[in-house]
Subunit: 308 residues, 3 copies
């Protein structure tokens, strides 16, 4: 069945069929990415605007290059000033971008639900590139793509997610997406940062990192946001590393062919040792390439049949 979504707002609201179609399309896009000539005409005549209200290096660049590889007209708008972060102005801004001809608006915003609000008010397709503490669906999709590349299927895999789950939109998108494909998810992290309501989603909340990663097929290590520590939500970086960091000893508890993933950028020696980040289990750099492929797939699917 054809992909009919107008927007990509989160994995919570995407069904299994759509997720699989995105991932299958991304496989073709990855093939293009590996060619000597990466230019394709798929987005010729289409226009993509990246609207970032939070600093971003990799996500913005990934979308920008994905757009350009497919011959789109791509432009960036960045703002970290709080004056533009108000709801009403955001809609006016996005309607303006729509009326300049944007076929897709890619938006990152500190407010949870910002992308959803925008999507209701514009005809352009909207891709959520991270909204507050809610979701980061393209990261979730690229993580699932990476797992599917190495493992025959997601169904039945044990996936451990380690770190500050509470503030992590990456964790939330992975939990929604991986659950839909039948993975068994365990989470571990500082107890102040484990949202208890996650128990209802079928996720197993573990009392220790060791328990979470035992026999795991995949370990997703979250980036530690150092500024959380200053707010008293975390122990010292050293303690964090000792209690929650992924090191050789802990890795030995997982399956022999475990995949290690991280959304980047990594804090070497804090949430993960350099040895593991650069080791044979690490998928961290493949995730980057897969991120471009997944974003190419989304841009293609969202603009393919669009009539203004």
């Amino acid at each position: 069945m054809a992909f009919m979504q107008k927007d990509i707002l989160g994995l919570r609201t995407l069904n299994q069929e759509d997720i699989l179609e995105i991932l299958d399309t991304a496989k073709l896009m990855k093939y293009i990415l590996e060619q000597n000539n990466k230019k394709t005409p798929h987005l010729q005549g289409k226009s993509i605007v990246n609207l970032f209200y939070e600093n971003s290096t990799r996500t913005r660049l990934s979308f920008e290059l994905a757009s350009k590889y497919m011959s789109a007209s791509a432009a960036n708008l960045s703002s970290t000033s709080s004056s533009v972060a108000k709801g009403e102005n955001l809609i006016d801004t996005c309607r303006t971008i729509e009326r300049m001809g944007a076929d897709v608006i890619v938006i990152r915003h500190p407010m949870s639900g910002a992308a959803h609000m925008v999507a209701r008010h514009v005809k352009s397709a909207v891709i959520n590139a991270g909204d507050g503490m809610n979701e980061h669906p393209t990261q979730g999709l690229l993580d699932i793509f990476t797992i599917r590349e190495s493992k025959s299927a997601v169904q039945g895999l044990k996936v451990a997610i380690i770190g500050d789950i509470y503030h992590s939109r990456v964790a939330r998108s992975n939990i929604w997406g991986l659950s839909k494909l039948g993975a068994k998810i365990t989470i571990a992290g500082p107890s102040t940062l484990l949202p208890p309501e996650l128990g209802k989603t079928g996720v197993t909340i573990c009392g220790s990192v060791e328990e979470a990663i035992e026999d795991a097929d995949v370990i997703i290590v979250l980036r530690l946001q150092k500024e959380r520590q200053q707010k008293g939500l975390l122990p010292s970086l050293r303690e964090y590393s000792q209690i929650f960091g992924l090191n050789k000893e802990r890795l030995a508890l997982a399956k022999k062919d475990v995949l290690i993933m991280h959304p980047g950028p990594i804090n070497r020696g804090i949430e993960i040792t350099s040895e593991i980040a650069d080791g044979i289990h690490s998928q961290i750099e493949d995730q980057v390439t897969n991120g471009v492929a997944v974003r190419m797939a989304l841009l293609y699917l969202l603009t393919r049949q669009r009539r203004k």
Copy 2:
């Protein structure tokens, strides 16, 4: 007669024929913009540099997308630092941009006359995207385009411009352009912000908003720059809204088919109520699309026959 201007610096110095040729060309460009595939080869091999010394979201994005839709090589240079705002360096900067191959330099600068000064020193075409308190000709052109789309002709129309006329380059460009096409212009706003010399241009300075918009065919509401208030030039925002804001009661004084325009971004509830901004008379979002079309037309006309 063919369009022969080297630059677009203001509507004061553009004659009626040139304005009409730009608007007619923009009509074709708008047709392209409405297609499923917006890519055209008109600027293939041409290079556009957007040089912005003031913050801008919509004008810069509008020029950037206009350039890209027409296959130009487009690049942005932004600077709000005052160290680069000096006259002499500005010319050196622009000559550097010229010698990198820029066919068109689009410049916004806080100094009135900056674009004119640059234009005298470079062979590249120069488009004034706003110079201090002087002009913003592409906004004026897109406003006139919008009026012509809805009304059979500009000749004889009553156009009211409401707000801080003194600081508004939008007002100035509209006054020059609309006068040349035969409109009858009325203005109203805080008396400290109504330049008396405008009386000489044939504009009618009104004592109240009500007087200015009575039987108007078009009302152009200017954006209130809130920082003016801190300088003592304005009453409180609440008073401003009560005395000068466009609301339902005032709108009833205008013609039944009045067009409501605003250069954006709007301050909802201050210079205009949301009801009117989103209502049936509002052209505000059409103005945005028309802005891209007008800029495409200018880029095309300025580079069409250019030989280096």
Copy 3:
């Protein structure tokens, strides 16, 4: 013999043959630049990322336009924040950019050797756009290109370099490159800013500007970094101008057909008078165009035969 370099890190490590091949290729690129249609398909399907950790207007724009003229997918990443300036993170950042498909990473960084370190860790070609106080090879190449355009050969020419040699990566790249092509180099500047070890490279360190430029075929005037003065390394700007500035009297000591060059932006009236900067000997604006041509040549040579 074919150009086989993976990266362009400095002129110190480039041999004469490679330098000449780059310059010959740049001559073809300059021809393209002078056409009415500047678009070429040479970088179609290739991706260039400009990663700038220091402010730059002209170098970044020059690379960006060079990329776009040749149909590459080009994107910019800028950061002047010190948090991203650490060595380890820089490598991770560049590996991320590599894995997004960048064929060439253009990097400017305040740390000497930054580009070299990156080049060892990525498969992408790396172009050093300035690393600390070390080299700025594309500036050196464009300077040599400019000399070769006017003079039959570099061999045997007397080239004077005037200013703060110690902090100048432009000076260093010129010294390495011009020496390899057989020029005789003299330098002069504040004695605190003349690195004594340069004596070993065959450069003649002069006691006065007059001595350095006597009978010179070329004078390269360096930009005075005004912030050096605050650190006590320089006399007042007025004294600097009197003792080291290039003016009509000093110019008379050089050959009749001397070329005056400057990497820009110039401080008019400090290191060079306006009369000379805008005079018949000045190559300053030609250097800008030649810079685009040289960068086009490098991007072409580095991506021509690249297989991922």
